[in-house]
Symmetry: C2
Subunit: 218 residues, 2 copies
Amino acid sequence: MFSSSEENYLKAIYHLSLASTKGISTNAIANKLATKASSVTDMIKKLADKNMLVYKKYQGVTLTEKGKKTAANIIRKHRLWEVFLVEKLNFSWDEVHDVAEQLEHIKSPKLINEIDALLGFPKYDPHGDPIPDKNGALHQIEKSLLASLKIKEKGICVGVNDSSATFLQFLDKQGIALGKEVEVVDKEDFDNSMTIKINKKAITISNKIANNLYIQKL
Amino acid sequence: MFSSSEENYLKAIYHLSLASTKGISTNAIANKLATKASSVTDMIKKLADKNMLVYKKYQGVTLTEKGKKTAANIIRKHRLWEVFLVEKLNFSWDEVHDVAEQLEHIKSPKLINEIDALLGFPKYDPHGDPIPDKNGALHQIEKSLLASLKIKEKGICVGVNDSSATFLQFLDKQGIALGKEVEVVDKEDFDNSMTIKINKKAITISNKIANNLYIQKL
DNA sequence: AAATAAATTTAGATAAGGCTAAAAATAAAT
DNA sequence: ATTTATTTTTAGCCTTATCTAAATTTATTT
């Protein structure tokens, strides 16, 4: 059994591993968890003792298969709870993160399996992120950043790269939601801003926005 | 904000206070929480500093109004989660306690209010215990221990005094459930066992059983 | 009322998780 | 190839929540 703190480390390392093939550095973990490098060193020693990851001094860490599976299971719980909050409890997608962050640590296999069933075994969370299955496998769909689309290309909004409340609320205000169709109308070389058509209306968004919205090309 | 540990102390003291008019002793708390008296002394000092209870050395403790309200709110969460688990997630009444013990510490007013609404604002948990309202008020119904009924008296099962899995499973096996009608057919002076009629069948139960089942007299 | 028993508190330790500051190792730059 | 900068680790300390053992207070007996 793992403490909430250990689980948070595993989750952070798992997320960092997706974006890198090399070992994950102490500093990267410290940064992700808003903690200090010295604290990370202590914890990764502990997780290495528990065979959750491989650690060689000064070389960063790599999750073992057991570590990956454990982390994926926590992420599975987090994302299933997010779906539950939105689908059953009238939470909006910008309100779910902090609560799911607590709920993911509840220990009860039956609980999460029943939640999964109640929701009809969803495959994606409210932000478009895939929900790992019971074995920890992820079925990622083909998706591109909106920023990478060329003029005239069309696609469906399928996910966000930033789940902060401010960004999500901005999308709400602009009428941008998962499942909606967008078309790139124009791109500006100077600042990489782009004009897109969504809800039959043209709106202009900055490059920062376009770099945080995932599209499935049509 | 309170730690899970602080919340558990408040809850334990609240429960003990219901069964006693005097201050709650250090030992009683230690016993309830399966911890040591010295640990209790430390914690009640901390809770006294936070104005949750009044503590005078060697004299036991009494919850303040704030302490009562805080404790009632935790119990409210516990019991609402129990109802949720039984009503929505196919848990049986002997499976809910440990999970609710974890869920009661989740911090999110919106979460528990939405759960309450989803369940239709229930007034009792699966064991027949009343759910405190948002102000911490309990609406206890009139109930008696089955052991106190005389021969020929009838009533409806409305609660249990012991929520352990073994006791609840025993009740299941005997076909005893909340809402069912029982009649005392006979009582044995020697061991205080009694024969009751339930589900149109007569069964004999020990005094220990009869002392853990609450009845609303008819 | 004094002596014994029981309950409670204090003192000192421990473990988990985190921090700061200093030391050591690795990486980058001249 | 040294020097400098950055990263990582170690060492020592803090807090929370425990515990054991000893000391103290209250309760109970004789």
